[in-house]
Symmetry: C2
Subunit: 343 residues, 2 copies
DNA sequence: ATGAAAGCGCTAACAC
DNA sequence: GTGTTAGCGCTTTCAT
């Protein structure tokens, strides 16, 4: 009875030595050719290249990494891939990494808890990575006793990480201010808010900014309604708000909840934007085709991803003091907002 | 003048030898402890564990891989991360991989061409991966002289790869049949189709199945309209179809085009589903909150991802004949479809 | 139960 | 321009 649960697969790897023997040179020469060094005779080079092709030689990255101490790979810890923002960010990171000749190793989390992040970080630190980007949408990453063991450069995206972390994030507060002011400028007496879950750092920041703008405008902020980012929670709260005549402007903390709220308003027979204006947050690809096309806050995830990778690579190369990079948002005005109804 | 563009970063790695010295044992003993082997004295083990913790030891996966020839990592080549299906699939693959203690290395493509796939495969085969999953939505992956050099086990997802590939895919034809039959069963005389781009294998399969169902029902299939998956193309074609009185049922090849088409119908004042019924394909998370909630074909990307990883891992372990796994789809009936208007 | 030696595939350093 | 030597950190014999 064998203890191996994985029976042998004889996938004979061609080594540098094999190529060397086949070409009748030393393995050092093969190495030189493989690395494109110039000090090799053209004839020799061709012979080696031919042998490589014949034998189907592929360099062994493990051996290379063992030598160099560099893996040219970075790890990404992400709470979930299934949100628009995370996917956009991931895509941008991966593209930028490829541009720098780095690979990306992905560690999804089973649950969005700090313990999971720690665990993933540990697994990753035993992995072949030179640095880690953590994309973790949660309130106060620094709150608990959460610390990462040193050793790997880390960049945190989209989270309220403490000053010991290098952070890249969207300007959540700016976006919420843009949305709220837009509605106020349209003449609405007040702006109601369907917020994200309190555990979310982004949601909290948006909520605070919304409140602040109202206060500055001399408006008593109404009670916010807390959703969970889903269309369904937007629908439920939309039903509640839509039944009130004094509600003429709604700012939702993301586009999905805006979609749900608009559906509720449709069902209640309230016209958008004639009776009620709605502003979202995210600028989903579909938002421009919602009915009506949604006015929303555009987040620049492409830039977030690109910058976070560049920051990380800089840290991989040399020690760097932690800093915070905030990427501005932009209000995209479409058809779901309009002047306040005459009352 | 140095040729190093990356100045040294002295991130002193603690090696097994360091731990051994610190604990006063040989490095083999450390290795045994690190691998959880049983033949180590409890006292020794504790001492080694303590030293590991003190020194902050982390095993070097490159050295391990060099020895074992296994990386416990699989590569994923994906044309784009920015579609619902790809993201869902990726997420499922990554989760399943983690469950098997495998990491996932991601290779995004700059453009969805076969050349890019080949290039990515080559880069990957020099990478530290044990196998590759290719998620490539294109017509006939086997059409051109496209072949992958041998060496790495490969599973192809969502593509019409040739018989030499192991394939996992949704049952595109089944989904399209379900959609078309549903509309016919509702009494509609004919079903119009907004198709995906002809280059897409999935789009072509859906188109063929739609056509076949109509023919079987004795209905002359109208000219299909070809979109490019975007809401905007759905909107344009929706405008065209919505202006025709004889159009009472539309089947779109994805949900985004359905969304665009519905927006066009709204603008034209045609009621959904009273005047026109619409069926999509994909079952986006938001589809249930479209206005009206969209009847659509649900694809099981979670299963696709899980199965493709399992297939791949099986191939990593031992040579396996290529086969094809087809995952069924399911029609989700919501509010965008209804009986044909009396004519 | 523990240690010594060899070697995985590659490259840096140094001959010639 | 090319070969030789050594060693990266680990695991697999084989001793003890």
């Amino acid at each position: 009875m064998s203890t191996t649960d994985e029976p042998e697969r004889t996938r004979t790897r061609v080594s540098m030595a094999d190529v060397a023997q086949h070409a009748g040179v030393s393995s050092q020469t093969v190495s030189r050719v493989s690395n494109g060094l110039t000090n090799v005779d053209a004839t020799t080079r061709d012979r080696v290249l031919a042998s490589m092709r014949t034998l189907g030689y592929r360099p062994n990255s493990a051996a290379r990494a063992l030598k160099s101490g560099r893996f040219r790979t970075i790890g990404i810890i992400m709470s979930t891939l299934e949100t628009f923002g995370n996917m956009q960010t991931l895509s941008a990171i991966a593209m930028e990494a490829a541009r720098h000749n780095y690979s990306v190793t992905l560690l999804p989390l089973e649950a969005p808890t700090l313990g999971q992040v720690s665990g993933a970080y540990h697994r990753l630190s035993e992995q072949a990575v030179d640095g880690v980007i953590i994309v973790f949408e949660v309130h106060r990453l620094d709150e608990t006793e959460f610390t990462l063991p040193p050793g790997l450069p880390v960049v945190v995206v989209d989270s309220n990480a403490g000053p010991e972390f290098t952070v890249v994030d969207n300007d959540q507060a700016l976006g919420a201010r843009q949305a709220t002011r837009h509605l106020l400028d349209l003449g609405h007496r007040s702006v109601f808010h369907i917020a994200g879950p309190p555990i979310s750092f982004a949601a909290t920041h948006r909520l605070e900014a919304w409140r602040q703008v109202l206060v500055e405008a001399g408006v008593e902020p109404p009670e916010p309604l807390f959703g969970d980012w889903t269309t369904d929670s937007g629908y439920q709260h939309g039903l509640t708000l839509g039944r009130r005549d004094d509600v003429t402007a709604i700012f939702t903390a993301n586009d999905q909840m805006a979609l749900g709220a608009m559906r509720a308003l449709h069902e209640l027979g309230r016209r958008i934007p004639v009776d009620v204006s709605v502003v979202g947050f995210d600028d989903l690809e579909e938002a421009a085709s919602f009915w009506p096309p949604l006015t929303t806050v555009h987040q620049d995830f492409a830039t977030i991803g690109r910058l976070s990778l560049q920051k990380l690579l800089a840290k991989v190369v040399r020690e760097l003091a932690p800093d915070k990079t905030i990427v501005p948002t932009e209000l995209v005005v479409r058809a779901s907002t309009g002047p306040a109804p005459r009352g």
